[in-house]
Amino acid sequence: MPGTLTLIVLLPLLGFLLNGVLATQLGGNRVGKRFVTTVGCGLPLLSFALVLSAFGQLQSAPGAPLLEVAYRWALIGNSAFEIAFYFDRLTAVMALIVTGVGSVIHIYSVGYMAHDKSVGRFFAYLNLFLFFMLLLVLGRSLLVLFVGWEGVGLASYLLIGFWFDDLANARAGKKAFITNRIGDAGFLLGMFLLYTALGTLDMDRINAAFALTGGAAPAVSASLVGILLFIGATGKSAQIPLHVWLPDAMAGPTPVSALIHAATMVTAGVYLVARLSGVYQHASEASAVIAAVGVATAFFAATVALVQNDIKKVLAYSTVSQLGFMFLALGVGAYGVAIFHVMTHAFFKACLFLGAGSVIHALGGEQDLRKMGGLARRIPVTFVTFAVATAAIAGIPPLAGFFSKDEILWYAFASERGGSPLLWLVAAATALMTAFYMTRLLWLAFMGTSRMSAEVEHQVHESPASMTAVLALLAGLSTVGGFIAVPHFLEALLPLPATQEHLHAYETPLLVVSVVLAVAGAAAAAWLFGGDPARLRALGLRFAGPHRWLAGKYFIDELYEKVLARPLVWVSEAVFLRLFDRRLIDGALDGLATLGQRCGGWLARLQSGQLHAYAGLVLVGLVGALLWSWRHA
């Protein structure tokens, strides 16, 4: 009988197998939709219940993490590679987010995907994702984490390209997969380095090893390891320069965007860094890099989000930006705060994505903000929940986003581990833009007059109860989630950095400033988009140049295409394909064959049919043999 932790991980796998075999083409669609949804939602919920019970066990014995060895993978020398599950407070928070938010998104999908022909495949993939994500979160060893890490990448690829008959979707899936490979190379190198230096990949042991030796762990620099692992994290968590895949990943069904590309998978990088905080505490250079990359990503993505017209693209860039915030928190040593933001972000961003899904559902697939407007009265539940989540991400107190974002801003300003007013300034500007673009999104979709075509307008309808109930639940969590004191809960595990004494006086003013910024951003957007359209047009003309750059996403895709993709294609084509493959390998084989043919043709001439010629050859052979044996007598 496997233990609780093993069951938590295995239940979604069971769901994947059941649905994957019975409810797809593979098994001939043997079961009905009711079975699919019961299995698809029931097993994640069961997992969630088990996480709760494990959480109860953890709380009853404070300080002692739960540990379960499920399987011994390999025994090499003295080091055993085990599939072991490790459950401490950090795992608990992550597992609760993954199974909790994951389960409600599964339930939402029942309504959203009701009319899709391959709903069985969809739920199978979702459960597969959940399995790998739980493996990632619960794994004790970096190796198990890596298996989960790759697995969620696979599930993400499958789900982005879920509607693969559209080539663009399949291409977006490939892009996500390949971009992640680049990061994974760094991750693997970091893992090799750690194993060579410490002889173990168990993350609790790695942390302990670095703590004991005070940063001078045997023969390995914490910063080098930190940077390498962070490269992996930039891939999975869409940070500069590997952020390009996430906006394209919106090609998948909206529940997928909510679950994988907002709430859970993309936060895996944040989890990795927080989990290895023992390493990063001694890696000041790596931390500085993380903070810089985080804040740059946050700022950059927010500027792009200002002008996007696709409702999901805005949310995608917003996700990239929020992930940047999390990495900023990690970079200044506030690991618990980053996890706090992971949680609140999971609530409000899932709510936003699912709300967007509800809008898209209502409009029969329309995603362009320019063809929406005035939806507030038509789909009121979606509107209210969306508005709550918007306020939460904008940082309006007392909603969830306010607390986590404010703590990040505070530590970016005052942390003794790399905080600086400059970081705060950029982050605060980003917060202002966040409030602006989210309000813009809300306004364009729900307020003002309708810009829908008549036939779309005619069929607008509120989503079914299974979807709106989930929206309401997530909106509720976005409201009260900020009162769950995650950083305090994790403090024993992930101590918060000390703040600089002389800056303490700024704490309250900064709080006020961040609230003012949030309100100002929202008000500016409301003023701009709610008022005279001429104002907007004038502004657009005035800043035509910058607008073009933002709308083109700084043309980074085009840059990568020119600088990386084309040379790569050229090298593959000219060097690897034409030179190596065709000329060298094919040429060598063809050459051998031609040689054989030529020799054969030449020798065939000897068989003339003239018996005398044969007899002559026999004579030559005899004389030769005689001479040879006489020479070597």
């Binding site: 068989q607 003339s608 049919g609 003239q610 018996l611 005398h612 007899a615 002559g616 004579l619 005899l622």
Partner: protein, 100 residues
Amino acid sequence: MDKTSLLLGLAIALFVLGLLGVIVRRNVLVMLMCMELMLNGVNLSLVTFSQQSGDTAGAVLVFLVFVVATVEIALAIPIVLLLVRDKRTLDLAAYGDLKG
């Protein structure tokens, strides 16, 4: 020159005569006879060595060669006759198309 080398010289002479005959002559029947000549050269050397070493195995082998040579000729002559009936010539050059 003692008797053994004389006999061996004769054997080599027979063999070389036969071989040259096979190579030089074009008449099929003559070639067959030359082949018999080679076999006899070999037989003579076998008998000589057998005498010299006092072992009868060589002499016995000669009987084996006789039998095989008889059988071979018994097969070869009818084949030659059939061929000649077809092409009306004993010249081997005419049969080059038998190479297949």
